[in-house]
Subunit: 198 residues, 2 copies
């Protein structure tokens, strides 16, 4: 039991007291349930793979999104991590493919382009068919640096390079929006009639 | 003193205890300072006027923005309140004129177009010179209703009707952005090169 508690306590946000509570909970369950929980954890690392095309998590060599014939092949949305793929999928507004960089360029943390999936992105774009690359990275210093690096690398290809819109959140009030974002939302204003069916 | 405490206690967010604290503070000040404070309050309502063109607050008949020869006359940004004018001015990204509606259409609260400065907006646009009307209202139900009402009214004029961009905040992460806003930021994506100098 001490062993199990120590294992749980390794997880982020779980201390020894919570770990003990979780272990005591498991001890009250049926044996079969506890075994299947343990097996799920073992399989997790063994069987979850990364898609060889977009580096998203996947059960097989190619992820569901890259394998789907219903997704537009010619548009690639570049994101930092798998969590961003999930966020964008939840919007149901995007029907293209992804490319997961696995991080952002950050000289301070010693992360350069070589540590990210940049080469494989350039290969995908260089292979031809791609019409548009959407840069959907965070707008912090690392995100801006990475955006600009990718832009410079991608510029030589015949491909449209776009970025997600910045602006006031839907339901957000002007008064509580920071000045930079509000300023950007005015500069990049849209035709009202184009937004009517969104 | 009881009188002064009662007056302070009328203000929003100030209870009797705080009011008493404020009055005791004033009693400790020089008489001239307290008199000038009182006079400022009296002048506030007497001398602050509303601009007859855009309905922003003003010291004179016409506000500084409407009177300025450096502001573009042909673009009008429609906002709900004076606070929104201040928010947009703080961004230093807008160089046109404003039109303060004084509220939003809200059938639930009995606010119709007749209670707002809609007629005077239509007159300004109808007078000719205006090239673009930017709808910069909140995206709640009242804001959407008002946007659509104004759009229908303005459509017959030869004027471009735009709206501020909605999207991920600058510095905001995709993961913490609500699905509607993230979805909109992808649908309304921009050319990356257009955003480079913003």
């Amino acid at each position: 039991m001490e062993n199990a508690v120590a294992e749980f306590a390794q997880l982020p946000g779980i201390g020894r007291k919570t770990a003990l509570r979780l272990v005591l909970h498991l001890l009250r369950q049926e044996e079969s349930e506890v075994v299947s929980f343990g097996e799920a954890i073992i399989q997790l690392k063994k069987e979850v793979k990364h898609c060889k095309i977009c580096h998203n998590i996947s059960d097989s060599e190619t992820c569901n999104i890259c394998a789907s014939p219903n997704r537009i092949e010619t548009v690639i949305c570049v994101v930092e991590s798998i969590r961003d793929v999930l966020s964008i999928e939840n919007t149901h507004q995007y029907n293209g493919r992804y490319h997961v960089l696995g991080g952002l360029i950050s000289p301070m943390d010693g992360v350069g382009p070589g540590n990210l999936e940049v080469e494989s992105l350039l290969e995908r774009v260089g292979a031809g068919d791609v019409v548009e690359v959407i840069l959907a990275l965070s707008t912090n210093m690392e995100g801006d640096t990475t955006n600009f690096y990718l832009y410079k690398k991608l510029k030589s290809f015949e491909v449209k390079i776009t970025t997600i819109a910045r602006g006031v959140a839907i339901g957000g009030e002007l008064e509580y929006t920071d000045e930079l974002t509000l300023g950007r939302s005015i500069v990049n204003r849209l035709n009202y009639s184009d937004t009517l069916n969104q």
